[in-house]
Symmetry: C2
Subunit: 443 residues, 2 copies
């Protein structure tokens, strides 16, 4: 008899945790991902803001799973799932791939609600490519400002707007002011990088809505002390090449970053089962698709009830727990045992605000940490959960370097990442300062 085959779609936290839990068991595991690397998403904003290199927060999936000899990793994009024939199709592969059990862990993308045209002007942050794109925009804004002579245009180049006051938005906003004021300042001759404006727009009444209210307030104060303008109840109504509209209000900026809202992976739809509003898959308590205990969904794509109306949050620890739980339920079925309901263990939530400050809500808000203590805790947790010894060491050293020298080491602009940005940075008409110096005061 052939071995039972478990196919896992996605090598993020959920998929990897399922593969590890199945490692060494008597099933054959096939993990398929669109990329060759696992990405430690909680630190992605640090790649976007020149603090860390892409390779420091990624690890090849097949390297992570090298000791799980019953796991085969393949690079490919899954396009369809057919639950009736128990098979998936991969782009470019002529034959379907059969499964006995399926774990779908394909996550989410950022969503622009009903405004996909905003993506061009306000890139989001989900993949390494996204982070490189944001980093490039951010660095090019300074390069352009250094050429720019018109003070209004220059101010627009040095205005950074972040849309969305969740952890990603807060962490992005918190890191920019000090970086501009300290790390970049000695490198420019014509502009003063300390004159940047950083604006954080949140549509709701407070930032970090998943944290206790007192911590949201503390985070707002911490951000404001750094010089970030926090605007609450600010519903974005337009984004274009020239800036952001909030109703009648207009902010001129060429650097808008999107950290508001996610949409589920389209593979949720392929399962042909009810989805909740944002496209996440409504599941039975054991994480299987209703009526089909061969198919499990884990991670950000899963909609699992938790506290009454509130679903399990889309965070890395939840994905880890779900992946392991789905694996357990598969192995239980193979032993003829009933599956178990998933119970989310909420360890807590963390967010940093610049250098030295963070907030933490542990044990469902029972323990609240702020300030330097929370920041050290944040550092520790993130180093601990990074995949691979090399990454942990490397990130620690980078952070030490950044911290001690007020520097940012990863300031690389490369050409082909984003065709729309690869033209010469200065394209608007203006009089060259050098030329004027010659013609006017001239020698």
């Amino acid at each position: 008899m052939a071995r039972t085959r478990v196919v896992i779609i996605g090598g993020g936290f959920g998929g990897l945790s399922a593969a590890r839990a199945l490692g060494g068991s008597d099933v054959e595991v096939l993990l398929i991902d669109r990329t060759n690397h696992h990405l430690f998403q909680p630190l992605l904003y640090q790649v976007a803001t020149t603090s860390l290199a892409p390779s420091e927060i990624t690890a090849p999936i097949r390297w992570v799973l090298r000791k799980q000899k019953n796991v085969t990793t393949l690079l490919g994009t899954v396009e369809t799932i057919d639950r009736r024939s128990r098979a998936i199709r991969v782009v470019g592969e002529p034959d379907p791939i059969h499964y006995d059990y399926l774990v779908v862990a394909s996550g989410t993308r950022h969503s622009y609600f009903s405004h996909p045209e905003w993506e061009k002007w306000a890139p989001g942050l989900k993949s390494i490519e996204d982070a490189r794109r944001i980093r490039k925009r951010f660095l090019l804004a300074f390069e352009r400002a250094e050429w720019e002579e018109d003070p209004v245009a220059r101010a627009a180049l040095l205005t950074f707007v972040i849309v969305g006051g969740g952890p990603t938005g807060v962490e992005l906003a918190g890191v920019l002011p000090e970086m501009c004021k300290r790390a970049f300042r000695p490198d420019f001759r014509r502009i003063d990088t300390a004159s940047v404006r950083v604006i954080l727009l949140e549509g709701g009444p407070r930032i970090l809505p998943s944290f206790p209210e007192s911590l949201s307030e503390r985070a707002t104060r911490d951000l404001e002390r750094l010089g970030v303008e926090v605007r609450l109840n600010a519903i974005v109504t337009g984004i274009d090449e020239d800036g952001v509209s909030i109703g009648a209000d207009r902010i001129r900026s060429q650097s808008v970053f999107w950290a508001a809202g996610n949409a589920a992976s389209p593979l949720g739809k392929a399962l042909a089962t009810p989805l909740e509003r944002t496209g996440r898959v409504l599941l039975d308590p054991d994480l299987s698709v209703p009526g089909d205990q061969r198919v499990f969904v884990v991670g950000d794509l899963a909609a699992v009830p938790w506290q009454g109306e509130v679903p399990v949050p889309a965070v890395a620890p939840a994905a880890n727990q779900m992946g392991a739980h789905a694996a357990k339920n598969i192995l239980r079925q193979l032993r003829g045992e009933p599956t178990l309901a998933f119970r989310y263990l909420n360890k807590g939530e963390l967010a940093t605000i610049g250098r030295h400050k963070a907030i933490a809500s542990l044990g469902g808000g029972k323990v609240k940490l702020t300030g330097t203590l929370a920041w050290v805790f944040w550092l520790f947790i993130h180093i601990m959960y990074l995949v691979g010894f090399r990454n942990r060491l490397s990130v620690m050293l980078q952070w030490a370097y950044n911290y001690l020298f007020w520097e940012r080491g990863v300031r690389l602009i490369t050409e082909t990442e984003d065709a729309s940005m690869s033209r010469h940075p200065a394209t608007t008409g203006r009089t060259g300062e050098f030329e004027r110096a010659k013609a006017g005061g001239g020698g």
Copy 2:
């Protein structure tokens, strides 16, 4: 009176060395480069082969020159030089930029002789983007081979051909066998990465022709011991998607890398002065363009006589010396002193061959080193000349990690770098192994 303005085109070794030599003097310096970073090209092949991260061998040019307060750095592409009006034009800038003195240090690109169509199938190695492209091809070859069932196609995927037996070609070829045999092997389930073929093609009668003959022979033996097939007098007559032709001989390979031949930057032509065969600018002994002591050319773009017929080689130390010399000659002119002829101090040449082995020719071949001693010397020199403390530390740690654990940490494939490669890796028809297992031996 306005200050004298020196414009430097290019932030490689030559341009940077000129800017540093002019730092603190009474001239105003403007350095223009197409990228925002200085690249330590001697280690670029290590980025291409997953040993180092792009950010470890680059440094922002404006950061490198932050202490030279009279130097302004601008990101831009120079399109024309007009020596009569003493001005250059930058793409997208409406006004010309005037210079009193000009230092052209725009280097070379790889040249495919009269076969530009080969570039698509055999990428060269000059920029960070080039290195990422080669790294991606290299990693995708293994990913594709893991899907591939046809043994002939699989063998073609695991055949790596390097065209050109200069230092870059030799270093690329030397690093591949051990990486495939050790670092990658535990990560794959279907292919044996130790079965790779690495072929080095050299058109001339020996590899490393600029080294003494005994060292070329030693390097050939070292490479062959590692398992590299070295083919001399092998003139490539065709490269396409399926492999390389050497006359009637044909090597099937999907991974061909180009390390043969450079062509000068097109800015050489813009100077409207005689060029030598490969497009390098023929200069007066003081490094100025004949008849125009306002314009200097340094680095790989400069054709300067050295030992009779042999010009100064296109290597980093020569570019460094030329940059500093051109700066000195500009300052001498400002003091009313005559310019001095450039004298190249040949410190020596180095090349590594895999792990533990290198060759070095010092003092014009008077001292020859081989084996581990030369390798340690190579390590030391390369760390010493890297720009920036952070890069030196980071590269040292990466190397220690790679060496101790036989690992390669930077194995990142990202999507948009190379559109032609971003489609699904497996595109040719074949029967899925998983499917066959099901249909044939099936459960």
